[in-house]
């Protein structure tokens, strides 16, 4: 048994490590960039809603549509449709770098909705209190909306990250690299079940670590 495992890792060890690293690079980079863009969108959708800080029906409706359209396109289709965009932004539509563009664009509307959901948990009371003390809209966004919902935003980020790991496996189908790519190339095309199983185990471990880290962190900073 041990010998079989040793032989397996001698043959596929490097490949699996590289695949894991590629998956982590793709998903981490896309999550970070998606949050840089998704947080402002989520905030704007929230504050332009009727009765909120800066009601603006037109902005609210247009952003809402864009987010919904983004959310309704299946990732596999987005992936193919965005090939020219990836070439333009990342210089290539191939490999790990090329996959970051569709992963990010696919994640932005998802992140915007997650952020919107987290901000909605902040009831009107604290916002009104901040207004009553002369806080500006920008101060209310940073010091109340985002700060008070931080534990929830962190839980949302873990969900996004894990969702993107799933997307990155789909991106593997068009040569993005990573664990998904390995599972398809070795497990599916070459019927090497043991490689398939190894990638599944690795994905489970990665997802578990992300989920536990986010649970611990959000619990630690949540003072409610």
């Amino acid at each position: 048994m041990i010998e079989t495992l040793q032989a397996f890792f001698a043959e596929y060890g490097n490949l699996l490590v590289e695949g894991t690293v590629a998956t982590l690079i793709m998903t981490t980079a896309s999550t970070l960039i998606a949050y840089l863009i998704g947080i402002p969108i989520g905030v704007i959708v929230t504050i332009t809603a009727p009765g909120s800080l800066r009601p603006h029906p037109a902005v609210n409706a247009v952003l809402g549509w864009i987010v919904n359209i983004g959310r309704s396109i299946p990732f596999i289709i987005l992936l193919v449709a965005l090939i020219p965009v990836s070439r333009f932004i990342a210089g290539t539509s191939l490999g790990t770098t090329g996959a970051i563009v569709p992963l990010t664009i696919g994640a932005i509307p998802f992140v915007a909705r997650m952020v919107e959901g987290s901000l909605a948990e902040i009831g009107p009371g604290r916002i009104e209190a901040a207004q009553a003390f002369g806080a500006s809209t920008l101060q209310i966004i940073t010091k109340v909306l985002l700060w008070e919902s931080l534990p929830s935003l962190i839980r949302g980020a873990a969900i996004t990250y894990i969702t993107l790991i799933g997307y990155s496996a789909i991106a593997g189908a068009v040569g993005a690299g990573g664990l998904g790519d390995i599972a398809i190339r070795f497990g599916y095309y070459r019927y090497q079940d043991e490689v398939m199983i190894a990638t599944i185990v690795l994905l489970i471990i990665v997802v578990q670590i992300i989920q536990s880290a986010s649970d611990i962190l959000s619990k630690k900073i949540d003072k409610r």
């Binding site: 009371g125 604290r126 009104e128 209190a129 901040a130 207004q131 009553a132 003390f133 002369g134 806080a135 500006s136 101060q139 010091k143 109340v144 700060w147 008070e148 931080l150 534990p151 900073i221 949540d222 003072k223 409610r224």
Partner: protein, 248 residues
């Protein structure tokens, strides 16, 4: 002095106009503890929010110390609000900030010196008797303690007006007594004008020197607390008086 002149507020909700406030006239003098009493939905919360313009009056004027503030916007509005403290029924403390940070919040939004503002926040916590809770979070405090923190926060900018929106409605009667005592004490020591929104005649009797009774969006009666209690004119006042406990 707060003067409210011919103030009305109407909400448009799907072609049906709802009149929340109708032709309100009030004068609140410096140093008053002014009660505005009415049943739920009478419009009293909307009225108090017109004073710091959290709600915009549809018509009418709001004057503070002789200045017409009704159309204040931008910096001017933020400046006005920071000079008026406010406390709320549900305390509205920031759950993810320490007690000290909560009290410092009104100073932080005005970019006041960090060290100075922490010192001021600590002094205010001493004033409300919670100096030892500075590092705690609101969730670790009782309702009465949370409202004390909210009062300290409302005092941070040394306001000359404090608005209380049902400040004791979520508290038991003993805690209510101690919060009212604190408000009375603040009124006497600093000469702060306090506007008290309530549905309880007991609260009015306990701390207000003047009272206005609001019913169905209109002021139906106002005067000194003594007058109104001794000779109520409106039917709603009599009804509110009947529900009050007998403390005499």
């Amino acid at each position: 002095m707060i003067e409210i002149r011919n103030l009305s507020k109407t909400y448009d909700a799907k072609h049906i106009q709802h009149e929340a406030l109708c032709d309100i006239n009030l004068t609140i003098d410096d140093g008053d503890i002014f009660g505005i009493i009415g049943v739920s939905g009478a419009g009293k919360s909307t009225l108090v929010r017109c004073i710091n313009l959290l709600e915009r009056p549809t018509t009418g004027r709001v004057l503070i110390d002789g200045d017409d503030v009704t159309d204040f916007k931008g910096r001017q509005l933020l400046e006005l609000r920071s000079r008026i403290g406010m406390i709320f029924q549900d305390f509205s403390l920031f759950a993810q900030r320490t007690v000290l940070e909560n009290v410092r919040f009104p100073l932080a939004v005005r970019h006041q010196d960090k060290q100075e503002s922490y010192k001021r926040a600590q002094e205010l916590l001493e004033l409300v008797g919670l100096a030892d809770k500075a590092r705690n979070y609101p969730s670790q405090l009782s309702g009465g303690q949370q409202q004390r923190v909210a009062i300290a926060r409302a005092l941070a900018n040394s306001p000359h007006i404090i608005l209380c929106d049902e400040a004791t409605s979520a508290l038991d009667s003993l805690t209510t007594e101690s919060i009212l005592e604190l408000l009375r004490d603040i009124n006497q020591r600093f000469g702060v004008t306090i506007v008290v929104i309530t549905h309880s005649m007991d609260v009015v009797r306990s701390i207000c020197n003047k009272v206005a009774v609001i019913d169905d969006s209109r002021i139906v009666e106002q005067g000194t607390t003594e007058e109104v209690f001794a000779r109520p004119k409106a039917a709603i006042t009599e009804r509110l008086l009947k529900t009050a406990g007998d403390h005499d």
